[in-house]
């Protein structure tokens, strides 16, 4: 069976890596359409901006006519067998972070109504899929992130809030902040501080928060048992 793949790249022209487009077009499993979304949005947070760009872009497209949606950041390059290998997983969502995700359109339409969530376009999607019992797996072939621009402090603060909103418990949050970066910067502390600030302020959580919290607690207990054995 041949899958119809739509690739979307939300990126301003100045942030688009020349190799990104080339790496998408050089795939061994060809894509149907590559859509670049260079729209500039005046919104305070990066999540709001990216989500709106993606949703505005998707509003122009008849999503039903595709099987998979490949969502890639403008500073990411993918190996030539990226789509081919990740399709073999036959998952509803391949990739748990937004820089490169291969999403099954039918599931995306069913669970997300064909729109990204404004809390977080990537983290929320993966968690929502998991909550609803969809198959979410890690990428079988990794993409390469080549961003040279430093993220502003506001992005780190927002990340703390987002992790709280989607239901991360503190240990997983610290794990996500400290272990998923190449080197820890002072700015990462702001993510942790904002997370705890959100706990104190009790800002409203998203619909996946309960599921994520329980899931992570269960994981911790499983880990404790394993350590005990």
């Amino acid at each position: 069976m041949t899958y119809r793949i739509l690739c979307i790249v939300p990126s301003l022209p100045q942030n688009l890596n020349p190799k990104t487009v080339q790496s998408i077009l050089n795939q061994t499993y060809p894509i149907e359409i590559l859509a670049i979304l260079p729209k500039k949005i005046n919104k305070p947070t990066i999540n709001d901006r990216i989500t709106q760009v993606l949703n505005d872009g998707l509003a122009n497209i008849n999503l039903e006519s595709f099987d998979y949606l490949l969502r890639i950041d403008g500073d990411v390059t993918i190996p030539s067998n990226f789509i081919e290998e990740n399709l073999k997983a036959n998952a509803d969502c391949c990739g748990k972070s937004g820089y490169a995700m291969l999403i099954k359109v039918s599931t995306f339409l069913r669970l997300m109504n064909g729109r990204f969530n404004k809390i977080s376009d990537d983290t929320y999607l993966g968690l929502k899929f998991m909550k609803e019992g969809a198959k979410v797996v890690d990428l079988r072939v990794r993409a390469e992130h080549s961003s040279t621009t430093a993220h502003p402090l506001s992005d780190f603060i927002l990340r703390g809030k987002t992790l709280y909103k989607v239901g991360y418990e503190p240990i997983h949050m610290i794990h996500a902040v400290l272990l998923h970066v190449h080197y820890i910067t002072l700015k990462d502390c702001f993510t942790i501080l904002t997370y705890f600030g959100s706990v104190i302020k009790r800002i409203p959580k998203s619909d996946v928060a309960g599921y994520v919290f329980n899931y992570q607690i269960k994981r911790l207990f499983r880990l404790r048992k394993l350590c005990g054995e």
């Binding site: 022209p13 688009l16 487009v21 050089n26 859509a35 260079p38 509003a59 122009n60 008849n62």
Partner: protein
């Protein structure tokens, strides 16, 4: 100078442009990508790079464009910008060429088409057997504003001409309604890029003999070209 509502929409960047770039991945140049997504009037850019199995290049392009349009909600756009994968546009290409609120601008390597007129004249689809020349002629027939570039592309790719493509082109000229004199004069107006271009003339004359199905533009083009010939001859005689 007075500006119309449409022109002020172009200037404010409220005009919604759908950009279609049809190209094979190896033909698509980096400069084209940048020139398209970096337009001063932001657009929604789609790169259509999938290989088609249709025999002729003209059909393959039209097929890819129609395929692209079938995935898009065309009603959300005001203009379609059709660009070849090896054409580089200036930053203000769209903005400058939309001055005067035209229905069609340019042709070949880069073309701007007003969506409302496109829906009205072409029923929202590119003609499967012919591309740019047909669009321009159809719009002219419907008395739409068809114009050349105000701001031409900065660079147009110059790839080797395929004989099959040239043969199709000659055939197409006949079907569109070109007169033999116009076909020949087009070839000899400027020095031909390659001797291969003679295939256009040859296949045109073969088409004259085999009489393939004419397009609906035939009568319009023939009349227009004969009139223009008559005008030229009269002017020449007048000068003598």
């Amino acid at each position: 100078m007075m500006t119309t509502a449409a022109e002020s929409a172009h200037e404010d960047g409220r005009t919604r442009v759908l950009c279609l770039v049809v190209s094979l991945p190896q033909r698509l140049t980096r400069e084209t990508v940048w020139s398209v997504i970096g337009q001063s009037i932001p657009n929604f850019t789609m790169f259509l790079t999938k290989k088609s199995k249709l025999p002729s290049l003209i059909q393959r392009i039209a097929d890819a464009e129609n395929e692209g349009l079938s995935h898009v909600n065309l009603s959300r756009f005001d203009y379609i910008l059709k660009v070849d994968g090896d054409t580089v546009l200036g930053k203000d290409f769209v903005k400058n060429n939309l001055i005067g609120d035209p229905d069609v601008v340019g042709g070949g390597s880069a073309m701007l088409i007003k969506v409302s007129a496109f829906n009205e004249v072409m029923n929202g689809k590119f003609y499967a057997e012919c591309e740019d020349p047909y669009i321009r002629l159809k719009f002219q027939m419907a008395h739409k504003k068809v114009r050349g570039y105000r701001d031409p592309p900065l660079y147009v790719g110059n790839h080797p001409l395929d004989v099959r493509y040239l043969v199709d082109l000659g055939w197409l000229h006949y079907r569109l309604g070109w007169t033999p004199i116009h076909v020949a004069s087009k070839m000899f107006k400027k020095p031909p890029d390659s001797l291969k271009e003679i295939f256009i003339v040859l296949s045109y004359f073969v088409a004259c003999l085999t009489r393939p199905k004419k397009m609906d533009t035939f009568g319009f083009v023939r009349t227009y070209q004969i009139r223009s010939l008559a005008r030229h001859i009269t002017n020449a005689l007048w000068r003598v």
